[in-house]
Point group: C2
């Protein structure tokens, strides 16, 4: 069932629907009715994708792979553009992976926007086709598997003691994001191993924004002798600096403005490093003074004016081990990263744009900056 054409599509979708177990999967499938991609094939299962891959291999073509959970934004597109520079063919996966969401996390509310995703990819493919530059590849395949394809034997568990087949990368997985989200990187590593095996790409593309993910994927590729190259692409940002994220649609105007604090705090810390500071106290102190100040300001406002948040962590870590640093070795640099939990709005104002979910969805923002080694 490689090329989904109308009649076959409806039937196969019906069959998929019947075999789907969770509400989240139903939501995914239900949001896939209209789009009829023309410039690439959509694959819902592995064997036909593998067939295409083998054909490309025999023709000495190269595959760049961009794994996504859909809800595509400019950050994803920048990964694809980078992949197009280095490969003849680009595979994009769209799959909201349940095993990386903790039991109390936002799996069910994670944005699912199949039609607009396909539209964006079609448009990007046209752009890539027009560019016609030598070495400008195009998207050949979208891999949009069901959970039964990705987890063929046991149902996907995001319980820390859950049963199943998993990849674990310790101690990296338990640091930073892993502190708040104990199953997250087990889920990410597991699904990426599966996706890499299904697509056997020459190169894989990840965004710098999820810095711990980039470190863990690089470690996984190295430790498991995976025959692919890992490319990290700079974080795509809005004009004011906010890192693009699929979750930003839930922010709304008020929380978006206050959420920018994460970037400002990291910038202040980066400035401290660039002005010669190397101690944890000096560098993270600069970030903390920003978050403390903004939080004090917000608290002084009324519930209909303010946006409260909690600093989950602000970290200064070694770029390879992610161990916290007391001092930055200027020949090695470091990773500045942070997570803010944006609380739901307490009170909406009439006519205010409170974002998808009307300001009620808590949003966890993450961001990071790399402290480059000093020459």
């Amino acid at each position: 069932m490689s090329r989904l054409v109308s009649g076959v599509r409806s039937l196969s979708r019906l069959i998929s629907l019947l075999s789907l177990a969770t509400a989240s999967n139903l939501a995914t499938a239900a949001s896939r009715p209209a789009a009829q991609p023309s410039s690439f094939q959509v694959f819902r299962d592995v064997p036909s994708l593998r067939q295409l891959r083998h054909q490309l291999l025999r023709n000495e073509r190269t595959v760049g792979f961009v794994p996504t959970m859909g809800a595509l934004h400019e950050g994803h597109l920048s990964l694809i553009r980078e992949a197009a520079r280095e490969n003849t063919d680009i595979f994009v996966s769209i799959y909201v992976n349940p095993t990386q969401f903790g039991v109390n996390e936002d799996l069910s509310s994670y944005p699912r926007t199949w039609d607009s995703d396909v539209e964006k990819l079609e448009k990007l493919n046209e752009e890539l086709g027009r560019s016609g530059a030598p070495g400008s590849g195009q998207i050949t395949a979208i891999f949009a598997p069901t959970s039964k394809v990705m987890y063929p034997t046991l149902p996907p568990s995001s319980d820390i003691d859950g049963q199943g087949s998993f990849v674990t990368i310790t101690p990296l997985s338990s640091k930073l994001e892993g502190g708040s989200r104990p199953v997250f990187f087990r889920g990410v590593a597991t699904v990426c191993m599966k996706l890499f095996n299904a697509t056997t790409p020459d190169r894989v593309y990840f965004g710098q924004k999820d810095v711990q993910q980039t470190v863990i994927i690089k470690r996984m590729v190295q430790d498991f002798l995976i025959g692919t190259e890992v490319r990290i692409v700079s974080t795509a940002r809005e004009a004011d600096g906010l890192a693009m994220s699929s979750r930003n649609v839930y922010l709304g105007d008020r929380r978006r403005a206050v959420g920018l604090t994460i970037y400002k705090a990291l910038k202040a810390a980066e400035d401290a490093y660039q002005s010669g500071k190397v101690s944890r106290a000096d560098i993270l102190g600069a970030a903390r003074s920003i978050t403390d100040q903004v939080l004090a300001e917000q608290r002084a406002l009324t519930p209909s004016e303010r946006s409260l948040f909690e600093v989950d962590y602000i970290s200064l870590a070694d770029p390879n081990t992610l161990d916290e640093l007391d001092l930055v070795d200027p020949t090695q640099g470091g990773v500045l990263s942070a997570a803010l939990k944006m609380a739901p709005l307490e009170e909406n104002k009439p006519g205010e744009d409170c974002g998808l979910g009307d300001g009620k969805v808590p949003v966890r923002l993450i961001d990071n900056l790399i402290l480059q080694p000093r020459a």
Copy 2:
């Protein structure tokens, strides 16, 4: 360093030796001085192996992969013969994987016999070349990596709470052998994932003797969408029925004779099933009566005459889940398996062949028989 020719070999061996950390690795490397393979290449690292693999792929050749820990016997050779029937090229790995040995297990005493292994493979390659039958492949590559190649970042840990990059397959890994050997299948799955990634074989070959390993590898390939086929080859047995194993060299005459009890007990249970019995009590009772009887006989003998053992488990399990069965569904069949711990000899007799290690090495024997579905 793909083709090891004399001068380069010595130098590269020296470099390897200098970078080796554990006593066990030193033992491995030290036992690799003389053999000069001619009909296949020996690879100690991944990039050059990967280059050969890509070349074979472009030439539409197929690769069958046989992972081993060396100490090759007829069982391994039967896997290679089977691979030769289905592939143009056979890759054999020889690597004693530390992460599958528990801290109190026999990693340091595991037999390392590089020269005789290479000799056996050379001889088998000649035989395969002579057979000249269409579709008779030959061994093209031996992959004999160092531990630094297989575990490039953190040192290989066989501690259950140890840090590193691992594949876990639960609950299958905790059953049967996993009950006595909690890190075993994590180590097996992890090293096989690495080896599969390094060799990207069309087909992989495992012996039926390690039945739980076959179930776990099949599950791993299915769950992680690995693009290879898993072939299971019947257990190679001595004339009297003892399953071949690299560890049998430690038995010596006396323990070898008594060790055959494992096969006799499983045979008695199989006979019970074939005569129409389906209950656990009837089938395993037949096995237990054999082990009980032999143990009673041995206990009645003097320390210089007897060989004591302990039944670790005798199991009747579902062939897919390895869950213990109370009743065999004759349309599904089942897996009969057992493990015996052969104790060290208490007292040697003058002139007695007590095996490698002089009867002092405890030997754990495992074996299994598949109860086929009845038509």
